[in-house]
C-alpha cells in the first residue's frame, strides 16, 4: 500500500505550478491587468500551500515507514488475536492509483484559490453585513406588515404592476418559444428526420442556446422594438428575446423526449402506409404532448426569473422597477420599506405561478388521479411483502 510516488508526483506538480505562476507575474500581461496578476499570485499561493502540505504529509509518510513494515509483517504472520488468517494474501489486489482524479481535485482547489484572488473581493465587507441585514430586514418586514399608507399603497401597486408585466413578458416569450420549438424539436429528433435536416437543425439550435438572452435583447430586439416601459416597447423586446432564446432549450428537450418515445406505434403506422406527417400526428404527438406541455410550463417558470435581468437592461418588467439608476435600488438612502414590499410581491407571485404551473404539469402528466407517492421511511417501512391481501380475505 505504498502511495509515496503519488505524493511525490503531486508535490512536483504543485511546485511546478507555483513556479510557473510566479514567473507569469513578471509578464507584461500581468503588469497591465491587476486582475490577471492577482489570479497568478493566487495560483502561486494555492499551489505553494498545497506543495507545503504535500511535503509535510510526505515527510510524515516517510517517518511511518518502519511502523508500516511492522504492520505488514504482523498481518502476514496473522498475529491478530481471534482474527481470520488468510492463506491467500497475494490475492489482494493493489489499490488502484486514482492519480488523475486526485490531480483534478487539486487543480479545482488551485483554480478556486486563484479565481478567488482574481475577483479581488474585499471580504472584510462581510463583517459589517449581518448588522445591515438585520436593520434592513426589520425595515422590510415593517414595510410589508404595516397598514399601507399612501406611499406604501403606491409601492404595492407599482410592484404588482411590474411583476404582472414580468409574468406577461414571460408568457409571451414562452408562447413564442413554444410555437417555434415544436416543429424545431421534431426536425431535430433523430428518429423522425433524415440526417440532412437533422445536423443543420442541431447546429442551429446549439447556436441559439449558446447566445445569452441579453445578447438577443440588446443586439436585436431593443433596436427593433424599443426600450423602456411597456408603452415604448421594452417589454416586447424582453418577451421576444426570451422567446428566441427559449427556442433552443425547448427544442432540445422536446427532441429528446421525441427520441425517447415508444417505437412500436411508429412502426405500426409506417407499416399501415401512413405518410410522414400522419405518423407524426397520430403516433408521435399523442405520446409526447403531455411531456411537451410540461416542458413549456417549466420554461415559463424559468422565463419569469430570466425576465428580471432583461428588465435591468431596459426591457420592461420587475427588473426595470428595481435596478438602478432609476429603480428602487438606485435611490439614496434606500427605501427599505418599498424594497421589502417589492420583494414580497416578487416572491409571492413567483411562488403562486410555480404552484399553479406545477399543479398543471402534474395533472397533465399523471392524469386526474393525483398519484400518492408512497415514500418509504427508513424506519417503519410499508409491508415489504406486498399488499395486505391476506387481511382482506
Amino acid at each position: 500500500m505504498s502511495h509515496g510516488y503519488k505524493v511525490a508526483a503531486a508535490l512536483v506538480g504543485s511546485v511546478l505550478l507555483a513556479a510557473g505562476g510566479f514567473l507569469v507575474t513578471y509578464s507584461p500581461a500581468a503588469e497591465s491587468s491587476d486582475v490577471f496578476s492577482r489570479m497568478m499570485w493566487g495560483t502561486v499561493i494555492g499551489a505553494g500551500a498545497l506543495a507545503a502540505a504535500l511535503a509535510i504529509y510526505g515527510l510524515a509518510y516517510l517517518g511511518t515507514r518502519k511502523q508500516r513494515a511492522a504492520e505488514r509483517q504482523r498481518i502476514v504472520a496473522g498475529h491478530k488475536p481471534g482474527g481470520y488468517t488468510p492463506d491467500r494474501l497475494d490475492m489482494r489486489p493493489i489499490r488502484p492509483a486514482k492519480f488523475w482524479y486526485n490531480m483534478a481535485l487539486i487543480l479545482i482547489g488551485v483554480v478556486f484559490v486563484s479565481s478567488a484572488a482574481g475577483t479581488g473581493m474585499t471580504l472584510s465587507a462581510l463583517l459589517e453585513m449581518p448588522a445591515r441585514v438585520w436593520d434592513s430586514s426589520l425595515q422590510m418586514i415593517g414595510g410589508v406588515a404595516q397598514v399601507p399608507d399612501e406611499d406604501a399603497r403606491g409601492d404595492w401597486s407599482s410592484a404588482f404592476d411590474a411583476m404582472l408585466e414580468s409574468v406577461a413578458i414571460a408568457w409571451i416569450g414562452t408562447l413564442v418559444g413554444a410555437i417555434f420549438s415544436l416543429p424545431c424539436g421534431i426536425l431535430a429528433a433523430r428518429n423522425l428526420t433524415p440526417l440532412g435536416t437533422y445536423i443543420p437543425m442541431r447546429f442551429l439550435l446549439s447556436v441559439i442556446r449558446a447566445v445569452p438572452e441579453i445578447v438577443f435583447a440588446v443586439a436585436i430586439f431593443i433596436p427593433l422594438l424599443g426600450v423602456g416601459p411597456a408603452e415604448r416597447g421594452g417589454a416586447m423586446a424582453g418577451a421576444f428575446a426570451l422567446g428566441i432564446s427559449s427556442i433552443g432549450t425547448l427544442s432540445k428537450l422536446i427532441s429528446e423526449s421525441i427520441e425517447g418515445v415508444d417505437q412500436g406505434p411508429l412502426e405500426a403506422s409506417r407499416a399501415s402506409g401512413a405518410s410522414h406527417v400522419q405518423m407524426i400526428r397520430w403516433a408521435v404527438l399523442p405520446q409526447v404532448l403531455p411531456e411537451v406541455l410540461a416542458i413549456w410550463l417549466y420554461r415559463f417558470e424559468v422565463n419569469i426569473r430570466a425576465s428580471a435581468i432583461l428588465g435591468a437592461l431596459g426591457a420592461g418588467g420587475i427588473g426595470r422597477l428595481i435596478s438602478p439608476p432609476n429603480g428602487l435600488f438606485g435611490q439614496r438612502p434606500y427605501d427599505w420599506e418599498a424594497i421589502g414590499i417589492t420583494l414580497f410581491v416578487i416572491i409571492a407571485i413567483t411562488m403562486v405561478v410555480d404552484q399553479v404551473s406545477g399543479f398543471v404539469r402534474h395533472r397533465v402528466i399523471h392524469g386526474k388521479t393525483v398519484r400518492r407517492r408512497s415514500r418509504r421511511r427508513p424506519e417503519a417501512s410499508a409491508p415489504p411483502e406486498g399488499p395486505p391481501k391476506a387481511v382482506a380475505v
Binding site: S32, S33, D34, V35, F36, V111, F112, S114, S115, G118, T119, G120, M121, T122, L123, A125, L126, E128, M129, R132, L164, V167, A168, I169, I172, L175, S206, R209, A210, V211, P212, I214, V215, V218, A219, I220, L224, L225, G226, A230, G233, A235, M236, R305, A306, I309, L313, G314, G316, I318, G319, I322, S323, P324, F329, I339, I347, M351, D354, R375
Partner: protein, 358 residues
C-alpha cells in the same frame, strides 16, 4: 382483398347504427359555464382596456359600440369554445384552451404587443435602428483587445477574467452549499420530515428572487453604492442563485435514489451522516457533477449579465458602453460577440468534461 373491400357498403345499416357506441359528447352545462367565463374575461378586458378603437354596430335606430380589442378577444374565445365542442374536447381541456387564450390576450395587451409589432417597419426604416444593427454586426475587435476601461488603467480583457473568476468561485461554493441543502431538503436523507419541509420552503423563497434582485440586495447589504462595488456582491448573488438551482434539482435526484442501499447502511448501524455519505452521495454524484457543470454555464451568462446592475466584470463595461451608445455601436457589438464566443467555449468545455466523466 379487393373483393372484400368492394363488398363493403359506404353507409352503415340501421342495425349497425344502433349497435355502435355513440362518440362521447361533452355535457352542455360545463360548456355554458365556460361561455360565461369567456364573457367575464371580456368584461375584465374591457375594464383594463386602454385603447380607444371601437367598433360600431348599427342596430335599428340605436348604434351599439364595442371596444375593438376586447371584442376580438371575446370572439376568439368563443370560436375556440365552439371548436372544442365540435372536437368533443372534455370541459377541462376546453377550460385549458380558454385560459391560454385569455392569458395570452392579457399578456399581449399588457406589453402592447400589437402596437409595437405594427411599428417595427417604421423603426427599421427611420431612426438609428439601422445604424445600430449595422454597428452590431461590425464589431470593433481592437477595442476589446487593446483598450482600457474608460478612465482607468484596467484593460477590457481583465474584465472578462473577473467575470470568469466570479463564475468559478460562485459555482464551487454554491454547488457545495447546494449539496448540503439538498441533503437536508430531501426527506430521504434529511433529519426528519419537518427539517425537509422547512428547507424546501426556504429554498423556494431563495429561488423566487431573481439573480439581479440578489445582486442588488447584496450590494446594498455590503454597504457600497451599487456602482463599482466590486465582485463580492456578484459572487454572493450567484451563490444564492446556484444554491436555489442545485438544491432543487439535486433534492429531486435524492428522492429517486434506490432505497435498498440506505436500508443496508441502516441495518449496519450507520448514523444519519454516515448513511448519507456512504449510500446517498455516491448514488447522486453523477447528477451532482452534471448539475454543477450546468450551473457553471448558467453562471457565465449570469455573471456577464449581472454587471449590468453595476457590479464588477464585463457586464459593467457593457452597460457603460450601452450608456454612451451615441458614440457608436461597434464596442457593444464586440462585447456581445465575445460574450457569445466565451459562452460557446464554456459550453464545449463542459460538454467535454461531461463526456469524460459520465
Amino acid at each position: 382483398m379487393s373483393t372484400a373491400v368492394s363488398r363493403r357498403s359506404t353507409a352503415p345499416t340501421p342495425a349497425q347504427e344502433r349497435n355502435r357506441p355513440k362518440p362521447p359528447t361533452p355535457q352542455i352545462p360545463p360548456y355554458l359555464g365556460l361561455a360565461v367565463l369567456a364573457v367575464a374575461a371580456f368584461y375584465f378586458f374591457f375594464w383594463t382596456w386602454e385603447g380607444n378603437a371601437v367598433l360600431f354596430f348599427p342596430l335599428g335606430d340605436t348604434l351599439l359600440w364595442v371596444p375593438r380589442d376586447p371584442m376580438i378577444g371575446l370572439i376568439l374565445m368563443l370560436v375556440a369554445l365552439l371548436v372544442c365542442w365540435k372536437l368533443r374536447v372534455s370541459p377541462m381541456g376546453a377550460f385549458g384552451g380558454l385560459a391560454i387564450i385569455a392569458i395570452t390576450y392579457w399578456a399581449g395587451s399588457n406589453i402592447h404587443f400589437v402596437d409595437r409589432i405594427t411599428e417595427v417597419p417604421r423603426r427599421l426604416t427611420g431612426g438609428n435602428t439601422r445604424d445600430q444593427l449595422v454597428g452590431y454586426f461590425n464589431p470593433d475587435w481592437t477595442y476589446l483587445l487593446f483598450h482600457n476601461v474608460a478612465g482607468t488603467s484596467r484593460p477590457i480583457w481583465g474584465e472578462w477574467l473577473i467575470t470568469l473568476c466570479m463564475a468559478v468561485v460562485a459555482t464551487i461554493i454554491g454547488c457545495f452549499i447546494g449539496l448540503l441543502l439538498a441533503m437536508l431538503a430531501s426527506p430521504v436523507s434529511s433529519l426528519n420530515r419537518g427539517t425537509s419541509q422547512t428547507v424546501k420552503a426556504i429554498n423556494s423563497v431563495v429561488r423566487s428572487i431573481p439573480d439581479v434582485g440578489w445582486a442588488l440586495l447584496f450590494a446594498a447589504f455590503l454597504g457600497g453604492t451599487a456602482y463599482g462595488l466590486g465582485a463580492l456582491a456578484a459572487v454572493l448573488a450567484l451563490i444564492m442563485f446556484n444554491i436555489g438551482i442545485v438544491a432543487k434539482l439535486l433534492s429531486e435526484s435524492i428522492d429517486a435514489v434506490q432505497p435498498g442501499p440506505l436500508e443496508a447502511a441502516d441495518a449496519a448501524g450507520a448514523n444519519l451522516i454516515q448513511r448519507d455519505r456512504v449510500a446517498v452521495l455516491p448514488a447522486v454524484m453523477p447528477s451532482f457533477i452534471s448539475y454543477s457543470l450546468y450551473v457553471f454555464e448558467l453562471n457565465i451568462r449570469a455573471s456577464a449579465a449581472l454587471g449590468v446592475v453595476g457590479v464588477a466584470g464585463i457586464g459593467g463595461e457593457l452597460s457603460r458602453q450601452i450608456g454612451r451608445m451615441s458614440q457608436g455601436y461597434e464596442n457593444v457589438g464586440a462585447i456581445l460577440w465575445a460574450l457569445v464566443l466565451v459562452v460557446l467555449m464554456v459550453d464545449l468545455l463542459s460538454l467535454w468534461i461531461r463526456r469524460r466523466l459520465l
